[in-house]
Structure formats: C-alpha cells, structure tokens
Symmetry: C2
C-alpha cells in the first residue's frame, strides 16, 4: 500500500493565456495545481495595473505556494519620441505591476513560498525603440535582488530574463535581427527552476 | 605669442549644491565653464520632477557641451511598507527625472555632447529598506545602455554608480554597515571620465 501523497503545490500563474504563460503552465502542471489568472482569460481576473484586482485574485486563489508572472506590457518607440504616457505603460504595467504583485503575494503566500517575475534580455542587450523595455527589465533585476533580502517567512523571489522567443519572431523579428531566439519552453524551464529550486534573489538568464 | 585658446566646454551641472555636486563642480571647474542648477540653489532653478523646469534651465543655460546630474531623490522604507506614494518618489525624481533630463538634453546639447547621470551601488548590492533605490539604480543602468544606441549627432550618455560616500556616513552609516565608503572626490573623477572621455553607454562603478 502506497503512503498517501501530499497534495501538489498550488501555483497562481498570471498571464497564463500568453505565449510564455502557456509554456509555463505546461511545464508546471504535471507537478503543481496551477490556478491561472489574466486580464481577459484564466480562472481569475487580474490586471497588474490595479492593486485591488491583484489582491482579489490572491484572496480568491486560496492557499498558495508560488506566484508566477508571465505578463507585463511595455511601449516600444524611438528614444526621443517616448512621451510621459509611453513611459507610463511599462512603469505601471510590467514594472510596478510586478512589484505590487510581489508585495501583495508576500502577504498571501504560505511560509517558504516563492515569487517569480518576468524580465528580459533588453536589460543587458538594447535594441532600437527598446529604451523603456530596457529600463523596466533592468529595474526588475535590481528589485528582485533587493526584495530577496527583506522578504519574511522564508519567502523567495527570482526573475526570469529570457531572450526573444522563436514563437514570437513572426511579430518581433524586425526588432530582434541577429538575436539567437530561444524556444519558449526553455524560458519555462527557468520558471520551474525558480519555483521548484531553493535560490532567491537570482536572475535566471535564458539567452 | 600663444595661439588663442578655444573657450572651455560648457557644462550644466544639476544638483550642484549637494555633497556630490560640489565635488563634481570642483573636479570640472578647472577645465570647464560650469553652469550650476538645482531645486533651491545654483545659477538656474531646475526640478527633475518638472519637465518644464528642465526645459527652461536648458534654454537659459545657452550652448552646452555636457549635462551632468548629481541629484535625485528616492524613498527608503522596509519593502513591505513601501506605498505607491513612496515608490513614486524614486520613480518620478531620480529615475524619470533623469530620463526626461536626458531626453531634453538631447535636444539642446551641441553635436558630440555628453549626458552623465547618477545611479548607485544598490543596483547590485542591496540593503534593508533600499528596494526602491535598487530598482531605480538598476533601471538607470539599463536605460543608459539603451539610450546610448539611439542618441543622435554623436551624443554620448553614461552613468556613474558610486558606493556610499565617506562624507555621507554620518547620515547613512546605519544603512551601510560594512560598506567600503569612498571619498566623494573619487565619484567626481568618474564624472570627469564620462564628460572628458569618449565612451558611451557605460556604467562607471566607483565601488
């Protein structure tokens, strides 16, 4: 007779409907109970720009062992054409949306739980029209290092910084000429490493 | 008879009244015409949070070969106590204040001119209560790398990322225990390197 199995860890996955989110769900689902959330799809509605919607989704999700984000918008435009409103897209959505997600997740996660955010290669390797994305991704790398040393209750936080995805090249190819695009499934592995590993304050570069 | 000397390069120095700004002024003054600007002191009034005040100062300064920033506020507080208003201090002042300074300086600088911004060691080495400073400094490092590849007319942009200053330890010592504080004059050297050198997209770490 087999001993009773513990229930699988419970993961809230934000942006589950996107290219990356679907790959992360596929990677985690065999070993986790994945609750999906998104602006327009998933088990729960969650908009990173709206702290109330984040709090509501965290409350509705029930006990959580991991919060994983695969969402976040940024505006692309030539440097000298980026307006205050253009900058705000990335600052409010991908950057501070994930920061407030991390702050709120710290209240809801079980002891020893993890937070995994999404950055990107533009933090290090800029492209034309990508200044806002670079700024946001660089901010997230430093934020994760800083947050890791202050999180309570053994909570962990890491960032996945992928290269452009092969699956996204039909849309983004003209911006990323010469980049060695990766299969999105490789980026999803880094999410597994963050959720199922033991490190904190790390930037997992999938370049 | 000596040939006529060309006039010295003209530098707009923001935050000239602070600990760092005074050291940068002392480093540059022997070889530059330094126009000082600040929120409350200097030749010109300039508030990084206010694009109109930046534009007015740039217009009043006359022809410029370099814009140098030694100013920028960030709020320090424990990670889970940082409110939206707390985050906004660093985002609006040190981060986007310097970004909009760079964007506007690109309109006013002479061909081949330079922009030098101020970051800090917390981008890499976090401290308690420093998550906002880390985020802002990390964002500035990535921004400078990205902006460098899009600036027109041979304009350059670099970031100085200093350790905590010996001169600031009476106030900041409790936050920076064990840090190998540097003389502010060493940080000022990095500003000279940016203004008088030829590199762009660099982060000059003075750690």
């Amino acid at each position: 007779m087999q001993p009773p199995q513990p229930p699988p860890p419970r993961v809230l996955l934000i942006g589950a409907g996107g290219t990356l989110g679907r790959a992360v769900a596929a990677e985690l689902a065999p070993r986790h109970d994945v609750i999906t959330a998104g602006r327009n799809s998933g088990d729960l509605r969650l908009d990173l720009r709206d702290a109330d919607s984040i709090r509501a989704a965290l409350a509705q999700a029930g006990p959580l062992d991991a919060v994983v984000c695969a969402a976040g918008n940024v505006h692309f435009a030539p440097l000298l054409q980026l307006s205050a409103a253009d900058w705000s897209v990335g600052l409010e959505d991908k950057l501070m949306g994930q920061v407030r997600l991390a702050q709120l997740a710290a209240e809801y996660l079980r002891d020893g739980g993890s937070i995994t955010l999404i950055g990107g290669i533009l933090a290090e390797q800029p492209i034309r029209q990508g200044a806002s994305a670079s700024l946001v991704n660089g901010a997230l790398e430093a934020f994760v290092r800083a947050a890791a040393i202050e999180l309570p209750r053994g909570l962990r936080i890491n960032l996945v910084s992928p290269n452009v995805f092969i699956e996204s090249m039909p849309a983004y190819g003209p911006y990323f000429r010469g980049f060695d695009a990766i299969p999105v499934a490789r980026a999803a592995l880094a999410f597994s490493r963050s959720v199922e590993g033991a490190q904190t304050g790390q930037v997992y570069r999938v370049h």
